[in-house]
């Protein structure tokens, strides 16, 4: 009972936050110089002033800003994100949703890769604090963190794509014949194209997570209950992985919750380098073209996911950590 009312309260609290986000973003966005027609109309000798005025009217830019916001909000309530201001005038949701699957897939896989590598790395580094292994991995993960993604990407393409000719250089599908492939071949084709992008987007994240695991682990290993466990004569493996790691990973719930919006936030740099049609490139070009509806559309999704991620982190924490759970009940 207490838990449900806590949840309801939290969700209700999110609603004004959400509208506050959209309001501030909408007005800040319009502070940038230029208008959506700029790219089409500026420096175009065939563009007449009348035409410019007509375009402004068609986009509703001739109205005061608060009217524009009200109109946008009205659409949002009807779950309509409007149409893009770019020459294709497509529905914003169509433009974003056709790019979401591949962005989510890559971000999800790279998150998985980061966790799979960095947690064991962090644990080992903590258990053998200041050993050679600890020092070497520290240097390596920070090197990976510091290396610019585009540079690493280009080197890997050169090596795997051209020198060894093992993997495709860029893109998502084979140039010819993808449609005729069977399911297994399609999966294989996808995998070949995704190896480099996933790897490149993951290596930068290794440092953060492995260091975090290490420090969190170190803290836990100094606790009395670890000493107790060892004193009971439990094997070291059980002490580390059952007693220490489970507690050390608690803060990860928060981190994972906060990284949910990151799942749809593509990266312009590696999407451009690997020629992947993801959300990042769409947003970049929308910013450059002052395509307000597309920007707002993406913002709505990111805002919802961020708020949801926060909520899930709180709830998840309460669910796994008995201390917080009982704390809540005591407040009742």
């Amino acid at each position: 009972m207490g838990f449900i009312s806590f949840l309801l309260k939290r969700i209700l609290g999110l609603v004004p936050t959400f509208f506050g986000i959209t309001l501030i973003s909408f007005f800040v966005m319009h502070l940038a110089p230029g208008e959506p027609m700029s790219l089409q109309a500026d420096f175009n000798p065939k563009m007449t002033p009348e035409m410019r005025q007509r375009l402004r009217a068609q986009y509703g830019l001739d109205k005061p800003l608060y009217v524009q916001y009200a109109k946008w909000l009205k659409g949002l309530v009807h779950l309509d994100l409007g149409r893009s201001f770019s020459p294709d005038r497509r529905k914003v949701w169509d433009k974003i949703s056709e790019r979401l699957p591949v962005t989510i897939l890559i971000n999800f896989l790279s998150m998985l890769l980061i966790l799979a590598v960095s947690i064991p790395l962090g644990v080992r580094a903590a258990v053998r604090e200041n050993s050679l292994f600890d020092q070497v991995t520290t240097v390596l993960v920070f090197l990976a963190y510091a290396a610019p993604a585009f540079w690493v990407a280009l080197l890997l393409m050169l090596l795997f794509g051209i020198e060894w000719n093992l993997l495709p250089v860029s893109g998502l599908h084979s140039l010819m014949g993808y449609d005729q492939m069977g399911l297994f071949e399609k999966v294989l084709d996808w995998s070949k194209h995704l190896i480099l992008p996933v790897f490149v987007s993951a290596i930068g994240g290794l440092a953060g997570f492995s260091r975090y695991t290490r420090s969190s682990m170190l803290e836990v290993l100094r606790q009395d209950y670890i000493t107790t466990a060892r004193a009971k004569g439990l094997p070291e493996r059980v002490v580390i992985y059952r007693h220490a790691l489970r507690n050390a990973l608690l803060p990860f719930i928060t981190i994972l919750g906060l990284s949910i919006p990151g799942l749809i936030g593509g990266s312009v740099i590696f999407e451009s380098i690997f020629a992947i049609p993801g959300v990042g490139q769409l947003m970049w070009s929308a910013v450059m073209a002052r395509d307000y509806p597309v920007l707002m559309g993406n913002l709505v999704i990111v805002a919802i996911l961020t708020l949801l991620g926060n909520l899930l982190a709180d709830v998840g924490y309460a669910a796994v950590d008995p201390r917080i759970r009982t704390g809540l009940q005591e407040q009742e």
Partner: protein, 545 residues
């Protein structure tokens, strides 16, 4: 030709391998000797930095959309390889009443790609759509001078102008012909044709995967003959370095190179064997433009002095690695209206100093920078962010101007902010920018004194009565020789006035896989005869079912 020597087993093997290889080469060469019997088949894969936005030509403003739409749609007229206007969908045309009336006679038996016959109604429909206030097009300006357009019969299209308008003829290109039967009564911005075009041209639309690729198939019923290539594939690769690697890995057949890639990175045996490089003057020039309202630049002598102080050949060597030519005016040197005999400004720092001294600029306080009335000659040049060629050009100019005692600072700005906050509000002293050139000499919008208002293109504020008069006259004159005289004179005046220091015309540097035959560079570039490119059977790479 196919020779080898034999002495040991190993060498025999070696020789055999070579022999097989060589004999294939010999066959290929025999084929060529038999000469140029084009065959059908194969596909070409083209790299593009940006995706298309809208495949209805009148709604699109970006280069990629027009490149694709240009293969799908046709106009009444087009430019041939020497940049002469020739008939396309129009078999012929008559210019009557001193240029006020144009009558087009259309080809018969042409069909839209869905099988419906093409008639003059489609042209009239396109005209009505482009002039409809509801159509969000950037190209309506060309048709404002039209008084009346009509389609008296299915194969005649007549258009009457308020005044004779010489650039009019060329405006009846592929932008204005639309399939009436698919668009009538519909909102063109929401039409299915935006992403699935139906045209009359040599290629038919096949598929478009956003930000990934666009595929076109040869149109077997094209009125001018089916293209030899079966398929055209455009791959969208936003990063130039990746694009170059795709080229190397075999994933691309055709891309535009940067000067460094052209000169150095493709100068390897691999590229010499597998690719052919081409170069021709691009339809653009780069300039240093002055705000003529600014007290420094009001004086013609100052502008001329700066032009003498800049070594344009040095810029071409340093920035373009020699792949460009000096610009002497607002046209490229291989155009028929280019005047080669205008006043030139070779690198001459002494003369620059003399002109500046005449204009009253002297270094009084001895700090190395010229001053006049206590004001040092120090100004800022603006250019757009992310254009490394312009950035390097600015740095070379900065160095040369410092040597004659002028201080120039460089500031780079994001494009939209640059245009809206600086150019449109006239808040600049000098700029480095470029213009893309059309095939017609009309430059009214850039140089006429009526075009100095906000958002208009004569943003430097150039005013010259004679140029004004000639620009209007040039628009009213149809006779090519007379037009040539008019634009020759305009170039002379601009060269004397130096409202811009014209810097350079860069070269377009395409690279194309060596298996494609029939490519013949001309003043129009290389793609004018694209539908006649072909690949010999034994070299075909992609088999299209």
């Amino acid at each position: 030709m196919c020779r080898g020597s034999v002495s040991s087993f190993f060498q025999i093997l070696f020789f055999l391998a070579f022999f097989i290889h060589f004999s294939q080469d010999c066959l290929a060469e025999e084929d060529i000797v038999k000469e140029e019997r084009p065959v059908y088949g194969d596909a070409i894969v083209v790299g593009s930095i940006g995706d298309a936005s809208n495949l209805i030509p009148m709604l699109a403003t970006d280069a990629t959309s027009h490149e694709i739409a240009g293969l799908i749609y046709n106009g009444l007229v087009k430019y041939d390889k020497d940049l002469n206007l020739v008939g396309d969908l129009a078999k012929s045309w008559e210019i009557k009443r001193g240029g006020k009336e144009i009558v087009f006679h259309l080809r018969k038996g042409v069909r839209w790609q869905d099988g419906v016959p093409f008639t003059s109604k489609d042209v009239l429909f396109g005209f009505k759509t482009i002039t409809d206030p509801k159509t969000p097009t950037a190209y309506a300006g060309d048709f404002l001078e039209v008084e009346k357009a009509e389609a008296p019969d299915p194969y005649t299209f007549r258009v009457i102008y308020k005044e004779p308008f010489a650039p009019a003829l060329s405006s009846w290109g592929d932008i204005v012909v639309l399939p009436e039967h698919l668009l009538k009564g519909k909102d063109i911005t929401k039409s299915d044709l935006v992403r699935h075009p139906v045209g009359l041209g040599p290629f038919k639309f096949r598929l478009w995967k956003t930000q990934e690729r666009i595929d076109l198939d040869a149109n077997p019923d094209y009125f001018d003959g089916r293209p030899y290539l079966d398929r055209y594939i455009m791959r969208i690769i936003p990063d130039p370095a990746t694009m170059f690697m795709e080229l190397k890995a075999g994933g691309l057949d055709w891309m535009g190179l940067s000067p460094v890639q052209y000169k150095r990175q493709t100068n390897t045996p691999f590229f010499r064997k597998n690719f052919r490089k081409y170069r021709y003057l691009s339809f653009s020039y780069t300039y240093l433009g002055y705000n003529l309202r600014h007290p420094f630049f009001k004086d013609k002598r100052v502008r001329q002095a700066i032009s003498y102080a800049i070594d344009k050949k040095e810029i071409i060597r340093g920035v373009l690695l020699g792949l460009g030519v000096v610009a002497t005016g607002p046209y490229k040197p291989d155009a028929w209206f280019y005047n080669p005999n205008v006043k030139r400004y070779p690198y001459d720092p002494k003369r620059a100093r003399r002109l500046l001294a005449e204009a009253g600029w002297k270094d009084i306080d001895g700090d190395g920078i010229l001053d006049k009335d206590g004001i040092p000659f120090s100004f800022t040049v603006l250019t757009n962010q992310g254009n490394s060629l312009r950035d390097k050009t600015a740095q070379i100019i900065q160095y040369r101007l410092r040597q004659v005692g002028l201080e120039m600072k460089i500031r780079q700005l994001e494009w939209t902010a640059f245009i809206n906050d600086f150019i449109d509000k006239r808040r600049f002293e000098a700029v480095i920018l470029g213009w893309t050139l059309g095939q017609d000499p009309d430059i009214f919008d850039i140089w006429h004194s009526s075009k100095t208002g906000s958002k208009q293109l004569n943003f430097i504020g150039y005013e010259n009565k004679e140029v004004d008069r000639l620009l209007v006259l040039g628009r009213r004159t149809f006779d090519r020789e007379k037009r040539k005289e008019i634009y020759y004179r305009i170039q002379e005046i601009l060269a004397e006035d130096q409202p811009y220091t014209f810097l350079y015309v860069p070269m377009a540097l395409p690279i194309i896989h060596a298996r494609f035959h029939g490519i013949k560079p001309a003043p129009a570039g290389i793609s004018y005869n694209f539908i006649r490119w072909w690949v010999p059977k034994n070299e075909q790479k992609y088999i299209i079912p």
